[in-house]
């Protein structure tokens, strides 16, 4: 049964709800649907699941883009109603006939809805019944097969030399089976005769099949026996195991024999002061510079009458001109397809992941279907405008990315603000960590680095060099230590000496590597950082989707608390190497929902800037 069906405008006013289904919805499923699905450009997907304490709903929706209406149906997830899609489209059709922008209440629609619902439910009942009629016929045929197989099996078992009292039972069972087999055999014959010529063929086939089945049955029986044996041995083994002490083994990456420790950490710390240290001051970090946006002179090139458009894929020039001047009636999916496909290809050439481009195009199609084409515009320009809108919406952060504000808030509470840098191998975590430290320092924030990359050779030294150049303290414990504990101690040290921010560097790891992801999850859970920053390089292609989704999934699965910490922000690196193939930013933001907080655009301390949404969108659609 439906829980509720709503009709509301895109501006937010509810026009009609079904008064018969008076159940108040638990939680706020509609608002959540809008916030996390429709506004996130996922309106192309089929349905949305919402969980609230005490309820699990599924929501389905449809748009009427011309009138700006949204139709949403809510029902309990366990019911899996089949008629919802059909009902929604019928409701859409009927309602649009009585819709008037000036009218606010539509109480007469109650009656229409009641009828539509009955119709839809009746249609589904018919569908269900026709499916059930088909089933008994199939079942009886199957039974016949099995019984026959059983009958043959019974015979064979009799002939086998098996000791024990099983024989008698088998004989009896065999007899029974034989009888049943025969009677069912009759059934099969009658069915077969109904099915004309297939009948005889089936009988023969079933005998052969029966023979085959018998051997299968034998194998299954043996397997079952074996399984029992292994189960017994397992339990015995399990009892033996606790006796062994669990010793921690060193992580061995390949089959090389374990080597003696190659720890070249300089034991003497104080010796570094002899070196002449020049504090790094390379001027203003690019984070604080305003970006110069080039003027929009290249826009509006798609307007009719203003020169040719080489991208146009219309059949004839004259007919397309005529259509655009007259203003086509309603946009159909088939009209949108060529324009959307062209846009999708363009996005993919800009290094957007294929999956993301696909989903985006579906979402834009859902929002444009049925809309009336304004006069003097071509379909491609409408689609482009809609896509631009959608891209701006996705890339605009949905929460504040003002880190300095967060740092000040943490300072008031006398706690250090902890940032953890995670990512796969070689994306630039350590380098960008130093850039962020430099930027924070320029804003009079005291920073401390924590070297929790205890695996890669030279990682600690690298951070130490940065710390020396920037003249900020670094907390390190050398190599081969547990990163989670190092981080914990670093935070305690920062609280002690009053540092405002702790930047935690971690080792790079592949998203599929289970033990490493577990270690990372442990670090995040143990220390509960204020910001989990995923460092991703702009050069990545389709792998971005996989990386981010797996990182998020592992952080959620392996977390011990009810509210798992996920990735809070993205740091995009190597931005200077990609020219205009800026799609990775879009893929990462779409799949994780986290905003891009920093962009690394070079290899010196000042090369860190903010993401300029408008520039990126323009570059993507150029």
């Amino acid at each position: 049964m439906l829980e509720q069906l709503l009709i509301f405008t895109r501006g937010g006013l509810i026009l009609w709800t079904c008064k018969e289904l008076g159940n108040a919805l638990k939680g706020s499923p509609i608002d959540t649907l809008i916030r996390f699905c429709l506004l996130e450009e996922r309106s192309g997907s089929n349905s949305y699941n919402y969980d609230a304490p005490g309820a699990a709903y599924t929501l389905k929706w449809t748009f009427h883009n011309e009138l700006g209406l949204v139709f949403v149906a809510v029902y309990q997830r366990i019911l899996r109603l089949l008629y919802v899609d059909e009902l929604l489209s019928m409701v859409k059709r009927e309602f649009c006939e009585i819709y008037d922008p000036k009218r606010i209440d539509y109480n007469d629609f109650d009656e229409t809805f009641r009828q539509l619902r009955k119709e839809a439910e009746a249609r589904t009942e018919d569908l269900k019944k026709s499916k059930q009629v088909g089933r008994p016929v199939n079942d009886s045929k199957k039974q016949g097969h099995v019984k026959k197989g059983g009958a043959d099996g019974g015979n064979k078992k009799k002939s086998e030399a098996k000791g024990g009292s099983d024989d008698d039972d088998d004989n009896r069972a065999g007899h029974n089976k034989l009888e049943n087999g025969h009677s069912n055999g009759h059934h099969i014959e009658t069915d077969g005769s109904r099915g004309l010529a297939i009948g005889n063929g089936k009988e023969n086939a079933s005998v052969n099949v029966g023979a085959f089945d018998v051997s299968k049955l034998q194998k299954l029986k043996n397997k079952g026996g074996k399984k029992n044996d292994t189960a017994v041995s397992d339990s015995k083994g399990a009892k033996a195991d606790p006796k062994k002490k669990a010793t921690k083994k060193n992580r061995v990456w390949d089959d090389s024999p374990s080597q003696s420790k190659l720890d070249f950490t300089d034991p003497v710390e104080n010796g570094n002061e002899n070196i002449d240290v020049v504090a790094a001051n390379q001027g203003e970090s690019m984070m604080d510079k305003e970006e110069v946006v080039s003027s929009d002179s290249e826009d509006d090139e798609d307007e009719v009458g203003k020169g040719s458009a080489p991208n146009s894929k219309k059949k004839g020039w004259f007919s397309s001109m005529f259509q655009s001047i007259a203003g086509k009636a309603n946009l159909e999916k088939s009209d949108l397809e060529p324009a959307l496909k062209a846009l999708k290809d363009r996005l993919m050439t800009k290094n957007v992941a294929e999956e993301i481009a696909e989903k985006l195009c579906e979402s834009v199609a859902a929002s444009l279907e049925g809309k009336k084409l304004a006069s003097f515009t071509r379909i491609s320009s409408t689609v482009q405008a809609a896509m631009e809108d959608a891209l701006v919406r996705i890339l605009t952060p949905k929460r504040s990315i003002d880190i300095l504000r967060d740092v000040h808030a943490a300072k008031e509470q006398r706690k250090p603000y902890v940032v953890v840098f995670v990512g796969v191998n070689g994306v630039g975590k350590s380098t960008n960590l130093a850039k962020v430290a430099y930027w924070l320092q320029q804003h009079n924030v005291s920073v401390m680095m924590a070297a929790c990359d205890t695996f890669r050779s030279g990682a600690v030294e690298q951070l130490r060099t940065h710390a020396r150049r920037l003249q900020i303290p670094i907390f390190e414990k050398g190599y081969e230590k547990d990163p989670a504990m190092v981080a914990k101690e670093a935070i305690q040290e920062a609280t002690r000496n009053g540092s405002d921010v702790v930047l935690v560097d971690t080792a790079g790891r592949m998203q599929d590597n289970e033990p490493l992801m577990r270690a990372l999850s442990k670090l995040v859970n143990l220390n509960n950082p204020d910001l989990v920053l995923f460092v991703g390089e702009a050069l990545v292609g389709n792998d971005a989707v996989d990386q981010l989704s797996k990182f998020n999934q592992k952080l959620a699965d392996l977390s011990t608390s009810p509210n798992p910490r996920l990735i809070d922000g993205i740091l995009l690196t190597k931005f200077d190497t990609i020219d205009d193939k800026v799609g990775a930013a879009l893929s990462m933001v779409y799949i994780s929902g986290a905003p891009v907080m920093f962009v690394g655009c070079g290899q010196s301390y000042t090369d860190l800037k903010k993401l300029n949404v408008k520039t990126i969108v323009k570059t993507l659609l150029k």
Binding site: L13, I30, L39, T396, R399, R405, H408
Partner: protein, 214 residues
């Protein structure tokens, strides 16, 4: 294009504020005098040019007002920039009930509006409207005003790092050195109360009447 020396005074009032503060309800109260069957999170702005419902049927001639309800969802923030330049007044709606949990978001939004170049240059008056006052646990407008001033003061220091190269978006707010208060703004910032669900919108209507002169 030849332009008149004095542009005709705009009659646009912008309703802004965080998602869930009650802007759409207010919009419909101003237009129809009722909140109808309720609202959901807006995905698009609500626009309309009309005579305020409470003034319909009055003897004297009233000028129709162009009211725009801009969605508060952060993803739709760029929409605000479309309407602010032509605003004769801004009503900033604040949820007085769920005020403290959203304090940071509210103050950042307000800060962004107060430092937009168009708002500063044209000295657009702002009404901070504390909504949902019919609820027992709603905060008073004085409390809200003080809290906002404190938060914006903090924001000034953390956002002061913007360069002075391009003045398009940010201005420093208030007098540097002194604790921020709304009286320091060059444009008039006032505080009022309202209750969208029970049609108590007198403060808002007065603000509109003051700023959209016939």
């Amino acid at each position: 294009a030849v332009r008149l020396l004095r542009r005709p005074k705009s009659n646009t009032i912008v309703l802004s504020g965080l998602s869930g503060s009650g802007k759409t309800i207010l919009f419909y109260q101003l237009r129809d005098g009722s909140s109808h069957q309720g609202t959901v999170t807006s995905m698009e702005p609500n626009e309309g040019t009309f005579i305020l419902h409470s003034e319909a049927g009055k003897e004297r001639k009233v000028k129709p007002v162009h009211i725009v309800d801009v969605p508060g969802h952060p993803r739709l923030l760029p929409k605000l920039d479309e309407f602010l330049p032509e605003a004769a007044g801004i009503v900033f709606v604040v949820d007085a009930l769920e005020f403290l949990p959203n304090l940071r978001g509210v103050s950042e939004y307000l800060y962004d509006i107060l430092t937009k170049a168009s708002v500063v240059k044209k000295k657009v008056p702002v009404l901070i409207c504390c909504n949902k006052t019919e609820k027992v646990t709603a905060h008073t407008k004085d409390f809200i005003c003080k809290q906002l001033e404190k938060e914006i003061d903090k924001l000034r220091t953390s956002r002061s790092a913007v360069s002075d190269a391009d003045v398009a978006n940010d201005h420093t707010l208030g007098t540097p050195g002194k604790t921020f208060s709304f009286s320091q703004c060059t444009n008039k910032v006032s505080v009022g109360e309202a209750s969208g669900l029970t049609s108590k919108i007198a403060d808002v209507e007065q603000f509109i009447r003051d700023n959209v002169k016939p």
